[in-house]
Symmetry: C2
């Protein structure tokens, strides 16, 4: 479910947050789905419970999950919208990276070819 890279510079709790966002985005996790419990996930990933909790607290703060004390955490109703909005905001990153590629000598045609390929493979 989650793959953690302990050697990464990105903190474990952020890796978890990011992977939840991704899975919601691509539809693997859906509204109402139950998240693994803090303890079970901490055991599965061999990560301290506090670190998992930190990720869950932040996910709750962002509104991606809803936490019911004693019951567990669940993917919120508007989780999909939230990650969708966030991703759409990344169109600026797109501008940035294309600019860099342009300076590096990558032609417009190559970039567009890449765009075509991606959209062919996604087919939402």
């Amino acid at each position: 479910m989650f793959v953690i890279d302990l050697m990464s510079r990105i903190p474990v709790y952020e890796q978890i947050i990011k992977q939840v966002e991704e899975q919601v985005l691509i539809g693997v996790m859906k509204s109402g789905d139950k998240m693994p419990s803090v303890r079970s996930l901490s055991i599965k990933l061999s990560i301290n419970p506090n670190t998992i909790q930190k990720a869950y607290t932040e996910l709750d703060r962002r509104g991606l999950i809803v936490t019911v004390p004693g019951k567990g955490s669940f993917v919120s109703d508007n989780a999909t919208e939230l990650v969708g909005e966030k991703s759409r905001g990344k169109i600026e990153n797109l501008t940035e990276i294309i600019t860099e590629l342009a300076y590096a000598g990558v032609t417009k045609e190559e970039v567009i070819e890449t765009v075509e390929t991606v959209y062919k493979n996604v087919e939402v």
Copy 2:
């Protein structure tokens, strides 16, 4: 010349490296140009000389600058090619971000529009 964000999670020395790469890429810095001295830059940016040195050592190791003891550091002859190659390698990042945008509901047309705009403004 350089803008450092002390609050950033990216280490200062990496920020310097990245900015040198960028300036070489867009042609602001050219082969043979003299780099500011370790000491002068450390004063200008109010950064410890060791941190600047760390950036310069790494830039030298990567072949982006050539260091002549007693004289100073200079942008290397093949610096432009080096950063060009590196940036061209980022076409994978492009795939990644476009995939995310696709899932987020951004249409292919919007993405291509962005590509067109960038290439119009760059005009190398």
